[in-house]
C-alpha cells in the first residue's frame, strides 16, 4: 500500500506490458488440433508456433516480469448521490417481525441433537423390553425401513440381534437426531419466552403429528408396528434433553444486536420494546433510499 501510494504520487502506475506471446501459444495449440483434421504440415507449424510462443512467454516473465509505466493524472471524482433522503411516515410496529438479537452457535444444535438422540434410546429400549422382551426390537424396526427384504419380517426376527440392523438404525437415528438438533438450535431463540414448553412439548407433538401422517410413505413396516404412545414418550425425552443442552450454551449476538442503541447494548437500559429498534432502524434506512 505504501509502495503503491508513492508511485501514485510520482504520477505513474506499473502494469504488465502488452505481449502477443499468449496469442501465439494459443494459435500454435489450435493449429496442432487443426493438423489432426487437415494435414500434418499444419500440425507441425502449430507445434513450432507453440514452442516459439512458450519461449517468448517465458522471456516475458523470467528473469524479471516486464512492466510498462502508465502515467496517472489525479483528479477527484465527486461521489455523490443524485437522490435526497426523505423522511418517512411512521409505520406501525405491529407489522414488523422481531428478529432475534441473540442466537446460538451452530455447535449448540449439534451437541443438543447428540444428547437428545442418546436420551431417546432409553424409552425406545424400554418399549422393546416391556413389549417384546428384547432391547433390539426398536432398533431393528427402525432399520427395517431401509432393507427391502425385511418388510415381512416377524416379531421374533426383529427381536433378535442383527449387526447390520444395528448399524442401519444408528445411521438413521444419528442423522435424524443431528438434523432435528440443528433445527432446535435455530428455532429456540425465536421463541424465547418458554423454551422448555417449546422444546419439550410443542415440538415433539408437532413432529409426531407430521410423522403420523407421513410414515406410511416413508416406512410402511414401521407404520404398521409403531406404538404411538411410546413414540411420543421418546420424542418428549429427546425434546427435553436436546432443548436443555441447547439452552445451556451461551448465546452469540447477531448483527441486529449491534444496531441497538448503546444504552441497551451496555445493559444500562433494557426492555422488550428495545427489540423493535433494529427492525425499525433498518426499515428507516430502506425507505430513505
Amino acid at each position: 500500500m505504501n509502495n503503491d501510494e508513492e508511485r501514485t504520487q510520482s504520477g505513474v502506475v506499473e502494469l504488465p506490458s502488452p505481449t502477443a506471446w499468449p496469442m501465439v501459444l494459443a494459435l500454435g495449440l489450435a493449429l496442432i488440433c487443426t493438423g489432426m483434421v487437415t494435414n500434418v504440415v499444419i500440425g507441425l507449424l502449430g507445434l513450432l508456433l507453440f514452442v516459439w510462443g512458450g519461449i517468448g512467454w517465458f522471456l516475458q516473465v523470467l528473469p524479471h516480469e516486464q512492466h510498462v509505466e502508465v502515467p496517472v493524472l489525479n483528479e477527484e471524482i465527486e461521489i455523490a448521490s443524485s437522490r435526497r433522503l426523505k423522511a418517512r411516515l411512521p409505520a406501525s410496529d405491529m407489522h414488523r417481525k422481531i428478529l432475534p438479537i441473540e442466537t446460538y452457535h451452530i455447535s449448540a444444535g449439534i451437541k443438543g441433537g447428540i444428547a437428545g438422540g442418546i436420551a431417546m434410546i432409553v424409552p425406545a429400549a424400554l418399549f422393546g423390553l416391556i413389549r417384546y422382551h428384547s432391547i433390539w426390537y426398536a432398533a431393528n424396526l427402525l432399520a427395517a425401513g431401509g432393507f427391502v427384504s425385511w418388510i415381512g419380517a416377524s416379531d421374533a426376527f426383529l427381536s433378535q440381534f442383527h449387526m447390520q440392523g444395528l448399524f442401519a438404525a444408528i445411521a438413521i437415528h444419528g442423522l435424524t437426531s443431528l438434523l432435528v438438533g440443528l433445527l432446535y438450535g435455530a428455532v429456540l431463540p425465536m421463541y424465547p419466552r418458554y423454551p422448555i414448553v417449546t422444546a419439550g412439548l410443542v415440538a415433539p407433538l408437532l413432529f409426531t403429528g407430521i410423522l403420523h401422517s407421513a410414515l406410511g410413505v416413508i416406512s410402511p413396516i414401521l407404520n404398521q408396528r409403531i406404538d404411538w404412545f411410546w413414540f411420543v414418550i421418546s420424542q418428549v425425552a429427546f425434546g427435553l434433553v436436546c432443548g436443555f443442552v441447547v439452552n445451556l450454551h451461551t448465546r452469540v449476538r447477531t448483527a441486529q444486536f449491534r444496531a441497538l442503541p448503546f444504552a441497551v447494548r451496555a445493559g444500562i437500559h433494557s426492555d422488550f420494546a428495545a427489540r423493535n429498534d433494529p427492525a425499525e432502524k433498518a426499515d428507516k434506512k430502506d425507505q430513505a433510499q
Binding site: L29, M36, V37, I77, R83
Partner: protein
C-alpha cells in the same frame, strides 16, 4: 471500520492527441493486450458475433419446421444446423460472454488493477476464440482438406455410437471434439484466473463477507468449471482415441459402453447449466438492488444458496438419462437430488422478490429485463421440476417439451439477464448510455417474441413431437403450433437486430454517461467510464458491502448494520 479513501479519477492524456492511430496500431493494441477490460470486451464481442451466427442457424431451423413436409433445407443440412446451433450457443456464445463480463467486472468490483494472471487471461481468450474458428472451419473442410466440407451433425451431446467411425466417417465429428477441447482449455484458464484473483487480489477491507455477490457467484461458478470441464475433456480425449487409434471405449459391440459417454457428457452437461445460469443470478444480484434502491435482501443466504447450488448441481446429472433404463435405485436418487436443487434456487427467488418489495423501483430497460428474467426463470424452474419426475420424463423426454424447457432457462433466464447486464454496464464500458427508447422497443419485441416461441413450444411437445425431427406429416396437428413458434422467432430476431443497432449507434451518439449514471454502490462506479487501464489511481479500501453508499451517506454508513 476501514478508512474510506476518496477515489481520484484519472485523465488519460494520450487520447487528446490530435491524429487518430492507424488501424494497424489499434489491431496491434488489441492483439497484444493483457488488460482484463480489453480481454473482457473481446470475449463479449466475439460472443456477440457467434450469437448472430447461431441465431441465424436457429432461424433456418425454425423456417424448416414452420410447415409440414418442408424441404427448405436438406435433412443433412438440418442435422448440421441443430448441432452447430447448440454447440455454438453453449461453448462459443454463453461461456465467452459470461467470462467476458466476469473478466471486465471482477477486478473493478474488488478494487484490483488487473486479474491475477494477465497473460494467462489473454491466452485463455485466444484459445477459445481459435476453437470457435476451428468449429466453423468444418464447413469448409469437414472431411479433411481433400474432401467436400461438412460440419458436425451428431447433436451437441454427440451420443455414442453415432460418433463412432463407422457412423460418422470423415472428420466432421473430430472438428467438434477438437473445438470443444480447445474451448475447455480456455475455460479452465479463465476459471483458474478468476478463483486466484478473487482469493488474492481484493482491496483492503474487502473481506469475503463484504464481496459483491457477483464476485461470490463467479468464484463458485469458476470452481464448478474445474470439476466439470475435466470429465468433458477426458471424454473428448477418449472419443479421439476411439476415432484415431481404434480403441473401443464407447463401442458397445466390442465391449465398450455407450452409456459411459452419456455419464461423462452429462456430469459436465448438467453443472454446465448452472455454470451458465449462475452469472445470470450474479447480474440480478447487482442490478435488482440498485434499481429497487434497497440493499440486497439476505446476503448470507444468497451466498449459502450459491454454494449449495454448486454442490447439489454436481449430483443431478443422470436426470438426463431417465429414459436409458438405469434402474429404480438410480432413478429415485436422481429424482430427489434434482428436486433438492429447487430449494437454494427458491431461496434466491424469494430474496430477489424481498429486495424489490417496498423498494423505490426505477423501470429502466435494465430493470425490465431483470423482472422478465425473474418470472421466466421461475416458470423454467417449474417445468424443470416436472421433468425431474422420472415417470413424467418417460412420457416427455426427447420431445419438444424438453426443448421448450431448456430454452426457457437459457433464453428466458440467461439471455434476458444478459441483456439487462448490457444495459446496466454498457455505460461503464464505453462511457455512453444505451438509448432507453430503442431499449424499450427491444424489450417489448423480444418479450413478445420469446413468449410466442417458447410458451407455445411446450404444446407440440405434449402432443408428441420429438426433438431434432427434420419434418413432420400434415395430419399430426402440429402445424399451427410450429407456425406460431417460428413467427415468434422472427419477432425475436427483429428485437436482437434493434439491440445490435443500439449497441453500435450509442457508441458514437449515445448520451455521455459519467462515472456513476445509476447511482450505484459497488466500486466499479467510483472510477471513470470507461475506466483507465490501471482502474484505480489509488487502490480503494472499503468498510461495507456497499462502499459507494458509505461515501454518499457518511451519516448512515452500511457497516452499522452488517
Amino acid at each position: 471500520m476501514a478508512t474510506q479513501t476518496p477515489v481520484p479519477a484519472v485523465l488519460d492524456q494520450t487520447t487528446s492527441t490530435a491524429c487518430r492511430p492507424m488501424w494497424l496500431e489499434v489491431l496491434h493494441d488489441w492483439v497484444t493486450t493483457v488488460d482484463h477490460k480489453k480481454i473482457g470486451l473481446m470475449y463479449i464481442g466475439y460472443a456477440l458475433l457467434f450469437l448472430v451466427v447461431a441465431g441465424f442457424e436457429a432461424l433456418l431451423i425454425r423456417i424448416q419446421l414452420a410447415i409440414p413436409n418442408n424441404t427448405f433445407v436438406s435433412p443433412q443440412v438440418f442435422n448440421r444446423l441443430f448441432t452447430m446451433h447448440g454447440s455454438t450457443m453453449i461453448f462459443f456464445v454463453a461461456m465467452p460472454v459470461l467470462f467476458g463480463f466476469g473478466n471486465y467486472l471482477i477486478p473493478l468490483m474488488i478494487g484490483a488493477r488487473d486479474m491475477a494472471f494477465p497473460r494467462l487471461n489473454a491466452f485463455s481468450f485466444w484459445v477459445s476464440a481459435f476453437g470457435g474458428l476451428l468449429l466453423y472451419f468444418s464447413y469448409f473442410g469437414g472431411s479433411g482438406l481433400y474432401g467436400a466440407g461438412s460440419a458436425p451433425d451428431v447433436g451437441w451431446w454427440a451420443y455414442a455410437p453415432l460418433t463412432a467411425k463407422a457412423f460418422s466417417p470423415g472428420h466432421s465429428t473430430d472438428y467438434w471434439t477438437l473445438a470443444i477441447l480447445l474451448s475447455g482449455v480456455g475455460t479452465i484458464g479463465t476459471a483458474l484466473n478468476i478463483v486466484t484473483t478473487v482469493i488474492c487480489m481484493r482491496c483492503p477491507g474487502m473481506k469475503l463477507s463484504r464481496m459483491p455477490l457477483l464476485v461470490w457467484i463467479y468464484l463458485v461458478m469458476s470452481l464448478m468449471a474445474f470439476v466439470t470441464i475435466s470429465p468433458l475433456t477426458a471424454a473428448q480425449i477418449m472419443l479421439m482415441l476411439d476415432r484415431y487409434l481404434g480403441s473401443h471405449l464407447f463401442d458397445t459391440q466390442a465391449g465398450g459402453s455407450a452409456v459411459l459417454w452419456m455419464h461423462f457428457f452429462w456430469i459436465f452437461g448438467h453443472p454446465e447449466v448452472y455454470i451458465l445460469i449462475l452469472p445470470a443470478f450474479a447480474f440480478a444480484n447487482e442490478i435488482i438492488p440498485v434499481f429497487s434502491r434497497k440493499a440486497i435482501f439476505g446476503y448470507p443466504a444468497m451466498v449459502a444458496a450459491t454454494v449449495g447450488i454448486g454442490f447439489v448441481s454436481l449430483s443431478v446429472w443422470a436426470h438426463h438419462m431417465f429414459t436409458v433404463g438405469m434402474g429404480a435405485g438410480a432413478n429415485t436418487f436422481f429424482v430427489f437430488s434434482s428436486m433438492t436443487i429447487a430449494v437454494p434456487t427458491g431461496i434466491k427467488i424469494f430474496n430477489w422478490l424481498a429486495t424489490i418489495w417496498g423498494g423505490k423501483i426505477r423501470f429502466t430497460t435494465s430493470m425490465m429485463f431483470a423482472i422478465g428474467f425473474l418470472f421466466q426463470f421461475l416458470i423454467a424452474g417449474l417445468t424443470g421440476i416436472m421433468l425431474a419426475v422420472a415417470p413424467f420424463d418417460w412420457q416427455l423426454g426427447n420431445s419438444y417439451f424438453v426443448v421448450a424447457h431448456f430454452h426457457y432457462v437459457i433464453v428466458g433466464g440467461i439471455l434476458f439477464m444478459l441483456f439487462s447486464a448490457f444495459y446496466y454496464w454498457y455505460p461503464k464500458m464505453t462511457g455512453r448510455m444505451l438509448s432507453e427508447k430503442l431499449g424499450k422497443w427491444h424489450f417489448w419485441l423480444f418479450l413478445i417474441g420469446f413468449h410466442l416461441t417458447f410458451d407455445i413450444m411446450h404444446i407440440p411437445g405434449i402432443l408428441g413431437m420429438p426433438r431434432r425431427i427434420y419434418t413432420y406429416e400434415a395430419d399430426r396437428g402440429w402445424m399451427i403450433w410450429n407456425l406460431l413458434v417460428s413467427s415468434g422467432a422472427m419477432i425475436q430476431t427483429v428485437g436482437v437486430l434493434l439491440f445490435v443497432y443500439n449497441l453500435v449507434r450509442s457508441y458514437f451518439k449515445g448520451a455521455v454517461a459519467g462515472a456513476d449514471p445509476w447511482d450505484g454502490w459497488t466500486l466499479e462506479w467510483s472510477t471513470t467510464s470507461p475506466p483507465p487501464s490501471y482502474n484505480f489511481a489509488v487502490i480503494p479500501s472499503v468498510g461495507s458491502r456497499r462502499p459507494l453508499w458509505d461515501l454518499k451517506h457518511p451519516e448512515d454508513p452500511d457497516n452499522n448494520y452488517e
